[in-house]
Symmetry: D2
Subunit: 382 residues, 4 copies
């Protein structure tokens, strides 16, 4: 039950890093959405775009294949299963460390919880599981696109190097090999990554997400606030340690009078002057850009040797053959997953909200309606 996500547009993922396949079942996708294997594989490729230099060198020849729920290129309303066969697996690398506890790694807690652990490639705890989420997000994105909703995510920081990214830079994210559209910062980040690689170490990072053209009204009080759902979704990504919406932890240092988002009229619509709330107020989208951040810890698996214990309590040395099959900075590839999870939250909230608006039978939003009432009145007077 813990392998499913979403209420209306619901995904269930399965498969181990070194098993036969990984995959996802999407249940609740509307019918007649056009989709091809190719569209999914294009997005999947981004997850390993950087792999030549600084991320896991496993050659994930990802060939995602839709095996159900699509007929003549369109979804039918039936559950959509997408499978990816696992290839280029070198499970033997893991045999020698089978009984070692890996510091800050999943095998300790999995063993304690389940009394059994498929040690090869970290199995379900591997970031490989997130490829399934990316597959599902491609369908979500297609539905959101109809409403012009756009989801972006990029590397905001690596270590203490922070990028400055404007809305206008969002179109350049995919041009950067590390998904950082601030060219200055990107340069410094690449230098730092080189140094980390030389030191056989890893480093943490921050991913920022931006969602444009969100309609107002998404998200549900009290326990399914849009920010709470995003927090839940993003903290479910491996290696995440923190979540912020809007000004996040900075908000804790501010006063109400300096921070409140003032209402103004702009293009004949009531909007806020600033966007400290990051597009979500009381758990419901305001229509302003949704913006937030996720902190990633440094990958626990490093090329450097580490002291540890085996499962019997004996002192041991943990050492990986340095074949580079791990990420120097997990935040880079994770940016694709952050985008995927945001899309999944948004499509679910969008479909749910649509339903809730149903009985209102109102064509315009509440405030536009009120304003036009005023204008009507004024016109009548004159």
């Amino acid at each position: 039950m813990s392998n499913s996500f979403g209420k209306i547009f619901k995904i269930t993922t399965f498969g181990e890093s070194h098993g036969q396949v990984i995959g996802v079942v999407i249940d609740g996708c509307p019918s007649n959405v056009e989709i091809t294997d190719n569209e999914i594989n294009l997005e999947l490729k981004k997850r390993k775009a950087f792999s030549k230099s600084f991320v896991s060198k496993r050659d994930e020849k990802e060939k995602a294949k839709i095996v159900s729920g699509v007929f003549e290129g369109k979804t039918t309303g039936a559950p959509i299963c997408i499978l990816i066969e696992n290839t280029d697996i070198k499970s033997k690398n893991y045999d020698k460390i089978q009984n070692l506890l890996r510091p800050s790694h999943a095998n300790f807690t999995y063993l304690q919880k389940y009394k059994i652990f498929d040690h090869r490639g970290a199995s379900r705890a591997s970031a490989r599981e997130t490829a399934s989420r990316v597959c599902a997000s491609v369908l979500a994105t297609k539905i959101l696109k109809k409403e012009n909703i756009q989801v972006f995510a990029y590397v905001k920081a690596i270590g203490d190097i922070e990028a400055n990214v404007d809305l206008k830079d969002l179109k350049n994210i995919d041009k950067s090999s590390i998904f950082c559209p601030d060219i200055e910062a990107e340069k410094k980040m690449l230098q730092r990554l080189k140094k980390i690689e030389d030191e056989k170490d890893s480093i943490g990072g921050v991913v920022e997400f931006v969602i444009l053209n969100t309609p107002d009204g998404l998200g549900d009080p009290i326990y399914e606030k849009l920010n709470a759902k995003l927090a839940n979704a993003l903290m479910s990504i491996p290696a995440t340690r923190g979540f912020e919406i809007g000004d996040g932890f900075e908000a804790a240092k501010k006063t109400g009078s300096s921070r409140n988002d003032t209402y103004i009229l702009k293009n004949g619509k009531i909007q806020t002057k600033t966007n400290n709330e990051g597009g979500i107020l009381a758990g419901i989208s305001t229509g302003m850009p949704i913006i937030g951040r996720v902190a990633f810890k440094p990958t626990p698996t490093i090329a450097k040797t580490q002291k540890t214990l085996d499962i019997y309590g004996n002192e041991k040395i943990l050492s990986f053959s340095n074949d580079g099959r791990f990420d120097l900075c997990v935040a880079i590839r994770a940016s694709i997953v952050v985008k995927a999870m945001c899309s999944l939250v948004l499509v679910d909230s969008y479909l749910l909200n649509f339903l809730q608006k149903k009985d209102l039978q109102m064509k315009r939003d509440y405030l536009s309606e009120k304003m036009s009432m005023r204008d009507e009145k004024t016109k009548n007077k004159s």
Copy 2:
């Protein structure tokens, strides 16, 4: 559906700030748990402990009353409904601002979503709803106590004033009028609050939570990781803007070699030397203290006048009669709610985990078992 929380120990809250009652239904509480109205009212009182000086001056004569699910002082397995009548309501104060958009406040998004808003006291969006959560948490706490699991939360920061709190200080939280057990920091915080009050303003803050004696194995990969559930629960509290587990956003600046929690033998048990992970690894509790933080924005409602628009788009001045019915720093009272939500997450995870361990029919945890196997072997040799 968005007013329910939890999977096994499930709460559903209802009621508006200025309605007749607020309340909660708890479904899934085990039978034969002893509980009285009085125990609930004791915890509720803390939510307004500070009210004399710096928080909302509404005299919430909270008299929580259990009206179902308890027979002769014990839970019966039936749903437990707890009601609190609303008293000391001054709804008229809100009539004059009925058509004003309140900056950074819920009424904008509620109107856009629902096309109707009970403006009196912010109704469901009011922090008053959290009293229902506190009621439910008292039952959760009783179940956790049987296993010696203890949940704490305290004010970690107000504005830029930060407290230093050790595990040994946890017993002093309730002794502080602002739930900050660092006496030095508390003093500075009180001065700052006085200043904020004089300026008719509000200020943000950070609440830290600590959970002791958690068994290992709580939380479920992939989408119901314990940290993801905590993030979801805590970001559902009004005014929250950020969440961290363990070293949180600091982790993004560190390297793997310096940050990984090394395994050591301590008291004959395998533990970690450091606790950067904050007691949760790969979404599952390690048995170390669970620690994290939540950022609260400054209360949007302030005594100072603010420029705004009405729902028709006309420019207006928003001004509350300064009767002090709002919080200078919402983080103070919210610390009780942070504790409550942590308890609700823990009890749910605990009950779920218990079930999952069932079929293993093993008396000890996995690693203790393995170590004893080694010791047995050694003994046999000698």
Copy 3:
């Protein structure tokens, strides 16, 4: 968790038969639905309409009161709590039987499951809980009425006396004191009930439900078929023993060639000539009337004395003071509850289906569209 029903329009009930209150929280009701206490109380009254002669003589002065979620006569999108105070309780009647096992009654299984039982009036296992469902159904009915969907239920059989009821008789259901619109059958039923009362016994019965004007497309394959949801909903009513949709168990005796519902053109629409499927095909509504039946066992509580055991295994005589506080035939009052549960299933399926149709952006149903394409073509030719 077992006290909630519905996915989008979700109810949670609470309260014991002899506790302070019973009630329901409705979560997910669209905003701006007009509702008053009075409308709810009118429907509640029907549940005890027959009480003067043959059903429980407890004078349930039901005064249902909406205590949240409604503002100025309209729903706000917030959870709606409805409370009914328990009055005219004679709990002492139950004290003397506290330790007796009541044949075919809940107290055996509740004790085994929960190790504690509030014996007064059967508490949660009492049919009194169903009053909460009736309250919730009034809101469901209001939403369905907008779409002209109408739900009916009536007494189809008492013992071996069976009624013949046509669609045209549905308007007369409430005119019968036992909700049986076949006057001939009603007469015989009343005679039988008199006899059963004289014998201090009880008798079983069958309730039939009919739902008119259902749009096609409601219900979801595979596990949430409309018939499966109805079966689940109706078998959750106390004392139910069987469920049928369409021709039910009779279908098992038929051949395909004689039973299949043939398609015909009627009023320019494709419909079925017969309706053996009872309006549901492959779990999805066809647009034809939905029709089915529920079997109720005789009330286990009877005025006649019965041999039994106490909880210690001692032989005892179970005897109620004959104050008539139990139903001669539970099916009579249960017909109101059958109607209520059908409404709750329908409103949930309706809201869900609305959402699913969303992305199709088609104005007419699929087959009407296809037929008009043909007509268009024909016209062009001539």
Copy 4:
């Protein structure tokens, strides 16, 4: 979302009858359960055991394959995906009927709901989907077996021929080619099936299920009563029209005094003399055998030609090439699915109940405890 079943032991099925694969993901299965592909394939074979003579002649060379969640022969707690490739598909047979409405068949409602239908072999509406359920049930059965819980299902009736089956006959179910352990009835049924085949027709039937050694306490009031869950599960099987628990519709004809199950002492345990309730009282298992029935309509797809309409409203003749790829009596093969769904309901209820009993920390059941208290007392006196 409608393709998932279960709360703790949760299955999600996918795949079309004539697609590439069908499959199931099982989430929530405890770890360390031993399982092989072979065990699953043995049960799957039964679903087509009868295929040589009277059921669908499609040669389903079912090779179920576990592709995730199992490591070295044991479940790991990770989601278990089982895939079955579709073979021997003759989709072309369906092309000529693509635009015909098939009487009492899914294609009408699927088209109306989804505006698209994969017509080949009825896709998701095909009984083929139930093979996925059978796969999942093999794991459920393994868990139930540890507690000695046994689930049986057999053909109780075909047309008006009814079998008499005793508990002692249950071991012979698999010996019958039509899963009917009453040899006399089986003979008549086979004759009737021959006649139906000659007439190019189909016929309905009834399946009865029996569950032995159920512990008391399974099932949850109010909306998750064990009978309501069984009704829901079994009515989700294609072609079902009715459900009964215990004496079912017969109960409606009985009086309370003649029907109530009297309590007696048997083998030192409190039990009921009769079992009219069918092992479930107030929605909770009593510990007596659980018994009930499901009615199946005749397969709508028959070899005989039928008049119908096409989707444009034109009159057409529907005629299948008589290659026998459909069931004469769907109840025969469905008996395996009834057994599977009962197992899935039971394992879910069992795991949930285990959790609920947890906090009671009582070693024996409530009534055994009370009786021993009495015996203790008696002993002390003497």
